[in-house]
Amino acid sequence: MKKFFMLSNEEIKRSFKLYLSILTMLVIVELTSVVYQVLHYQSKLEDLMKKERLTEMEAVDQLNGPLTFGDATNYFKYMIAIGIMFTILYAFQIWYRDWYGESKYIYRLLMLPGKRITILLSKLTTVLVFVCGFMGIQWITILLSRRLYEWLLPEHLQATSKIIGESAALNMLYTFNVIDTFVILALALFVITMVFLFVLTERSYQKGKALLTITKDVALLIVPFIALRYLFDLTSILIPNQQVFVYLSFILIYFIYISWKCVRLLNHKVSI
């Protein structure tokens, strides 16, 4: 356990400044975007009122109504996409930096006493903690943005809406149901483990064989899924709820398989 915490802290330490910088940047960009959207809307309103000699209400009508919070946070989905992309890239980089960094830290890691699974778990934990941080900070940014939106925009120009507005991306991430948050984190865990498997496979085999093995592992996910789908459509052997249960079980089994494979590669196949 101590080794796990020490390794996790080491991993976090190595990306600490980068992570905080990215978080800060995302918050600043998002809050700035809200200010921009509000001011831009008000400016369009004023322009319309001047040029076409309309009353404020008429101008609001022409602009398809008051500015919704969803409109004000329209750029958030791009920031979320960037966050996701960063996380996936980081999942690759957290391994490759140990092989290709200025020092070969992977030597030190693989020679540490204790089980090598601790290395895997510490890296996984690091990425997941970063994901949790992203989600948490994004939530705080939504709250701050809401305050900003309500403060900058006169009340009659606001469209009342739920706290997270109408953005599809935000509504998918923040359903206010704790189970959904764990579902999202489980999905993140799955994706990160897949990335880890790709890296460890590439580090364990020659290029050609590595590519073949990765292709085989991806096919092991996709082909049975399609086959099951085809089987269910063709035979209707199971009712919808049973089908969902089978799909979920398959994903769970596959996740266990890729996790086991990561550990196996790390213990027996990975080469420096």
Binding site: G101, E102, K104, Y105, Y107, M111, L112, P113, Q206, I272
Partner: protein, 226 residues
């Protein structure tokens, strides 16, 4: 006794890197693994440490697990560059219960390393010293050294060579790979010649000198030129 038996490794069907390599490394002796570039010397050391998977072979150390008994000093820096020397030592102390802090501090003084020196900013020679310091302070009975004298200045070589004849070597079995035979000729107890992934000769160095009437370096020239 560190015993390596039947080590085999290949990359694909074509390239056999190690062919049934077997040898021993006794305690209180310095064993030198000699071969030209690409013969598989580093691969053997990495295979012993589990850094490279092998196709076949066994490694035994007096009945104990490998990590408890062997320290490996590779030929490149293995601590993150952002760490200072002090932090690297603290890192190792945290992970290794047998860590000998006194040896670490003594060697830090001997090598004139400052605890605040950042590893990324050290010269190649000083990085080699840090590696060696870590290797000895780990306090393991067996020490594997991969090219400890490669690419460093004469003064640093002399410092490192002094370590091999000091009290730090007491009770240790050393396996070393090096091209700098002349620097350590007088310290070598056992010699293993490796060619094309196969052991072609394994002898006590003194017996070899008597048998062939040559230094180990000259014998090496003879072996690899024929």
């Amino acid at each position: 006794m560190l015993e390596v038996r039947g080590l085999r490794k290949s990359y694909g069907r074509k390239k056999n890197v190690l062919n049934d390599v077997s040898f021993t490394v006794p305690l209180n002796q310095l064993t030198c693994l000699i071969g030209l570039n690409g013969e598989g010397k580093s691969t053997i050391l990495k295979a012993i440490m589990g850094l490279v998977p092998v196709d076949a072979g066994t490694i035994k150390v007096d009945g104990k697990t490998i990590h408890d008994s062997i320290a490996f000093v590779p030929d490149l820096s293995t601590m993150p560059g952002y760490m200072s020397v002090g932090e690297a030592i603290a890192y190792m102390r945290d992970y290794y219960p047998d860590w000998n802090q006194q040896v670490a501090e003594e060697l830090m003084g001997f090598f004139k390393l400052m605890a605040t020196d950042r590893i990324a900013n050290l010269s190649k020679g000083n990085k080699a010293k840090v590696n060696l310091l870590i290797g000895f302070a780990m306090n393991r009975p067996y020490l594997l050294l991969d090219e400890p004298l490669a690419g460093i200045d004469l003064f640093t070589k002399e410092q490192i060579a002094w370590i091999f004849s000091s009290h730090y070597m007491e009770g240790k079995g050393i396996l070393m790979t090096t091209h700098e035979i002349a620097e350590v000729e007088h310290l070598i107890d056992r010699v293993i010649f490796l060619q094309n992934g196969t052991i072609i000769q394994e002898d006590d160095s003194e017996e070899m000198r008597e048998l062939y009437g040559k230094s180990v370096q000259d014998r090496m020239r003879e072996v690899y030129q024929t």
